[in-house]
């Protein structure tokens, strides 16, 4: 049996490990740098326990144990090389480092991108060598919605996604008009809506929009041996104490149950080992990896296949540490680490006169996709409308966070206590948070900091990033529309409820968004450090090695058997939460390993279309009990 090493156990790594193991063709070793906070994975799902709790001190106040500790593993940041080596050291876009990765912290919005999102450059009149948006590297994806749709569908069932689209007669009916076509309904109906979301959804509906319950990878029913969500409210940043969240560990659980997977946590991969081409013009070949175990001892593990699923930033770092040099024979595109993208989070908050217990529920139960941009089908595309992002409704602080957040108003004494009793950002808040599409730019990138090291003495990633005027303009365009919705909350359906404050904030670049609350804010380094956990790019996939780091199946062009799985492959950053697309794309990558699709020196669109039938065969074979597999048979 062949042996695969998967680096990272998050959304992408767990997907790849599960499929390779279920195929029966691979023995899989999953190496995870962080700790395993679960007990009992691989056995009876109802018996799996974890350390996680409704504990604000552990998961908000103290260095959250699921995250890398910036004291031990700092990163650096600068807006451009003109800043010098760096202007900030600390937590820069840290994603959880733990078994399950980012799926432990997320609140599990499981959104698909739309048809237009994969081909927006063409729709705007661009070409592969002439991006439609000046100053960017905007491009079409080598895979399109029709390729990924079956993979979206199967992952919605593997993980367990609740959502509003259902089957009526033989048809799938979707109440969200902004989404593209679907071959299957959701696995589960939507769970309980939160009042803080329902009031915004009601206002949006009265203004002519169509908000909808947000597809979420959290059980609304007992599902695959796990219980339904109880709406405890401590969701984002907290591991799920009741196991209702569809976290990465559940795919690892499936994988471990095959008996063909070994999971080693606290295993820090520090080098990729590989050989040069065996013949002139041939490809490099990964031999395995070197990692440090929990005692700091170094080990080599051999493999026939290595999949880097340790996030766009860490995959770039590991490649660079291993001598994969952009522009050299190991990385012919020269683009490794470039085109780093986040989402520009733009917030408009509403504070309400009445208590709406905003803290109860799953953070966000409704979204409005109207501002994601024109679409969803190419026929509906209007190039004059800016592409923003979906708007998440709701959001709230917990008590300690609120106490800190109120300290600028009053840090101590009776006045602080009085505002705590009013609980403005715990009980009376509901926001619209737009996850705005971020333009890819070659100058936004990850490289190794020239001096800074982690606790083991290894160079850490440096993020060089600044916003493009496109996303700032799009945010400015949509802020008044978001504010209009919040201002409309209340009668007739919620009489007596009125917003007493409506205004925009921006967590990323407060000073840069026109109309933000105080445009002349201190624009010090801190306010420019991007904080998004939606991390994309660095390993752009493309039809040929001129235009991307990886092929359309995630393979490094210069290697036979080295893959990236995850958000790194994204070509653009459509304004929807990223995890479901990471899951679908990782399924696609794993399927190509199993089918042998890929492996070429370049591709054309027809080659991807031809691969589709072979690729979806993996769904039928390995997840044949799903609606997605039945839809493929039809």
């Amino acid at each position: 049996m062949k042996r695969a090493i998967v680096v990272g156990s998050g959304a992408s790594g767990s997907t790849v490990a599960r499929l390779l193991a279920r195929s029966g063709q691979w023995q899989v070793l999953v190496l995870e740098k962080g700790r395993n906070y679960y007990q009992g994975l691989g056995g009876d799902p109802s018996k799996v326990t974890s350390i996680f709790a409704n504990d604000e001190i552990a998961y908000e106040s103290r260095a959250n144990p699921i995250y890398p500790d910036p004291l031990l593993e700092p990163r650096s940041f600068r807006t451009s090389p003109s800043d010098g080596d760096r202007i900030f050291v600390g937590d820069v876009n840290n994603l959880p480092t733990t078994v399950g990765g980012g799926t432990v912290h997320f609140d599990a919005k499981a959104r698909r991108f739309r048809e237009v999102d994969f081909i927006a450059n063409s729709l705007l009149g661009g070409t592969p060598d002439r991006p439609a948006v000046p100053g960017t590297t905007y491009a079409d994806w080598p895979v399109h919605y029709r390729h990924l749709e079956p993979f979206y569908a199967v992952m919605e069932e593997v993980i367990g996604v609740q959502g509003p689209a259902r089957r009526v007669g033989g048809r799938v009916v979707n109440p969200n008009p902004y989404e593209s076509w679907r071959s299957t309904p959701f696995a589960m109906p939507p769970g309980v809506g939160m009042l803080s979301n329902l009031i915004l959804a009601d206002a949006a509906r009265r203004l002519g929009y169509s908000p909808a319950p947000v597809p979420t990878a959290i059980n609304s029913r007992p599902y695959r041996g796990r219980p339904p969500c109880c709406d405890c409210g401590l969701c984002l940043d907290y591991g799920c104490p009741v196991n209702a969240k569809g976290s990465g560990p559940w795919q690892l659980h499936d994988a471990l149950a095959t008996g063909r997977v070994e999971l080693r946590d606290q295993s820090y991969v520090v080098a990729l080992e590989y050989d040069g081409p065996a013949r002139r013009g041939g490809r490099h070949r990964a031999r395995g990896v070197t990692y440090l175990d929990r005692s700091g001892r170094s080990h080599f593990e051999a493999a026939d296949l290595v999949v880097l699923a340790n996030s766009p930033i860490e995959a770039t770092r590991l490649s660079l540490l291993s001598g994969i040099v952009p522009g050299q024979a190991t990385e012919p595109s020269g683009l490794l680490g470039r085109n780093l993208m986040f989402h520009l989070e733009t917030l408009v908050i509403g504070l309400f006169d009445q208590d709406i217990h905003s803290f109860r529920g799953r953070t966000s139960t409704h979204t409005l996709d109207a501002f994601a941009g024109p679409g969803p089908s190419p026929a509906q595309f209007d190039p004059t409308v800016p592409m923003g992002g979906l708007c998440e409704m709701g959001g709230a602080y917990n008590p300690i966070q609120q106490a800190v957040a109120l300290s600028p108003v009053s840090a101590m004494g009776e006045r602080h206590k009085e505002i705590m009793r009013l609980s403005p950002v715990m009980s009376r808040i509901s926001a619209m948070t737009m996850q705005g599409q971020d333009m890819p730019q070659a100058t936004n990138m990850v490289d190794l900091d020239p001096a800074l090291v982690d606790v083991t003495g290894r160079p850490v990633p440096r993020i060089t990033y600044s916003n493009h005027p496109y996303e700032l303009a799009a945010a400015a365009y949509y802020i008044p529309k978001m504010a209009e919705i919040i201002a409309a909350v209340g009668a007739p359906n919620y009489p007596g409820l009125e917003p007493v404050f409506v205004g925009p904030l921006n967590t990323t670049v407060p000073a840069a968004v026109p109309g933000a609350l105080e445009p002349a804010l201190d624009a010090g380094p801190f306010s420019q450090v991007p904080q998004s956990k939606h991390i994309m790019g660095t390993h752009r996939m493309a039809l040929d090695h001129e235009h991307g780091v990886c092929d359309p199946f995630g393979r490094y062009w210069a290697f036979d058997n080295l893959y990236h799985a995850g958000g790194g492959l994204f070509v653009t950053a459509p304004g929807f939460n990223v995890t479901l697309t990471m899951w679908a794309l990782s399924y696609w990558v794993a399927a190509s390993v199993l089918t042998g699709a890929g492996g070429r020196d370049s591709y054309d669109a027809a080659a991807i279309d031809r691969a589709l039938g072979v690729q979806t065969g993996v769904i039928s074979r390995l997840d044949g009990d799903t609606m997605a597999a039945r839809a493929l048979r039809r």
């Binding site: 350390i51 001190i57 004291l71």
Partner: protein, 383 residues
């Protein structure tokens, strides 16, 4: 020595500077570096801090003890009681003192030194999943079952903690004891160690324990200088004056105009203030098992439900057929239970009758929003 081994002792030899910035997504830039959008403080009201008496379980404290010339515990206790004061009737309107915040802070500072009867390891992260305060849900009735999970976090005063790995232990020892402890971890890179100071990554100079010992002593000495009495027995107004001065907050003009040089707050007190404030909030509003917020009493005053798992707020009921939650058309047989709906044990989708009480004043709302939006200097830090 490997990085899983535990070194002994506290070696605080090196000073490092600067807060660790802990960041989250939602509104978080504003939070982690919130600007000081000052509005005039109202005059201090309420009773002064209780002067004597120790909390149950730790009558003399673990690290914060009253010793000759260093009344750390009583000073800390009095200061916390002004940061989150009680109302005129502490029984109905409790504050930091009733919550036992000094115990919270003390157990944190002594996290690595608590006896086995108090915690089964360093009390940094409690081990979930449940406190034992809430029952399991009953999926057949949509309500609470009569069965409670075992009280996993704390049993008979003994806390169950998440054992720290070698990396976490190093990190928390640095935060508490200062960067000097790194010398006990030979596997840690010396280049990395040099950067701790240069980049301000390790928290306050000398660690939080030294910060507290020096800062509380400074408050006490300053009080004797200004008012002739120990901090703990100064009046509430005098204590407020000292805390507000140290925090750079507006103070009511208690002292004569043009105060003498001695009225300038000592640096050690100024360094402590932002940490003391956040730790007081944590001890008031965090899980009781960490030593503060006794019995969850501070949660009630702000309308927070507390920890609610495994019951939660809405309970699935396999027998319920709620048209609004209808399963019709979803999925297919065998994929998930084709019936069921939710009962909201506490309102999630609907207003909470009787919860609202006071309305939020537009002036307060605007001040809150302005505070949220401002990056820059902060009165508090996130250690």
């Amino acid at each position: 020595m490997s990085w899983d081994d535990t070194p002994a002792g506290d070696g605080r030899q090196r000073a490092v500077r600067g807060p660790i910035l802990d960041r989250r997504r939602f509104l978080s830039a504003a939070l982690a570096a919130a600007g000081v959008a000052l509005v005039p403080l109202r005059p201090a009201v309420g009773a002064g801090a209780p002067k004597t008496g120790g909390p149950a379980g730790a009558p003399t404290g673990w690290f914060l003890r009253d010793t000759t010339g260093r009344p750390l515990r009583s000073t800390c206790r009095a200061a916390c009681a002004r940061i989150v004061p009680s109302g005129s009737d502490p029984a109905t309107d409790p504050g930091a003192d009733q919550a036992g915040v000094v115990d919270y802070i003390d157990m944190f500072l002594a996290a690595f030194e608590l006896p086995a009867s108090v915690a089964d390891g360093p009390l940094i992260y409690l081990h979930g999943s449940y406190s034992g305060r809430n029952p399991y849900p009953d999926y057949s009735t949509g309500g609470p079952s009569g069965t409670y999970p075992p009280d996993a976090m704390e049993q008979n005063g003994r806390r169950t903690v998440v054992p720290l790995d070698g990396w976490q232990e190093l990190s928390w020892r640095v935060r508490l004891y200062g960067a000097g402890v790194v010398q006990a971890y030979p596997w840690a890179s010396s280049k990395w160690f040099a950067q701790l100071e240069a980049n301000g990554l390790a928290g306050p100079p000398g660690g939080l324990r030294a910060l507290y010992a020096d800062g509380l002593s400074a408050f006490d000495e300053w009080s004797r200088q200004l008012f002739g009495v120990a901090f703990a027995v100064a009046s509430a107004e005098e204590q407020d004056y000292m805390l507000e001065s140290a925090g750079g907050l507006p103070v009511s003009p208690l002292l004569p105009p043009n105060p003498p040089d001695s009225a300038a707050p000592p640096q050690a007190a100024r360094d402590l203030f932002p940490y003391l404030v956040v730790h007081t909030y944590e001890g008031c509003y965090g899980l009781p098992e960490y030593g503060g917020n006794r019995g969850g009493l501070m949660w009630r005053g702000i309308g927070w439900d507390g920890d609610t798992v495994p019951l939660g707020n809405s309970v699935y009921d396999a027998g319920l057929e709620d048209p609004a939650q209808s399963n019709a058309g979803f999925g297919q047989e065998g994929v998930y239970l084709p019936v069921g709906g939710y009962r909201q044990h506490r309102p999630v989708s609907a207003p909470d009758p009787g919860r609202s009480g006071t309305t939020l004043d537009p002036g307060d709302a605007a001040a809150v929003a302005a505070g949220l939006s401002r990056p820059g200097r902060s009165a508090v830090v996130r250690p």
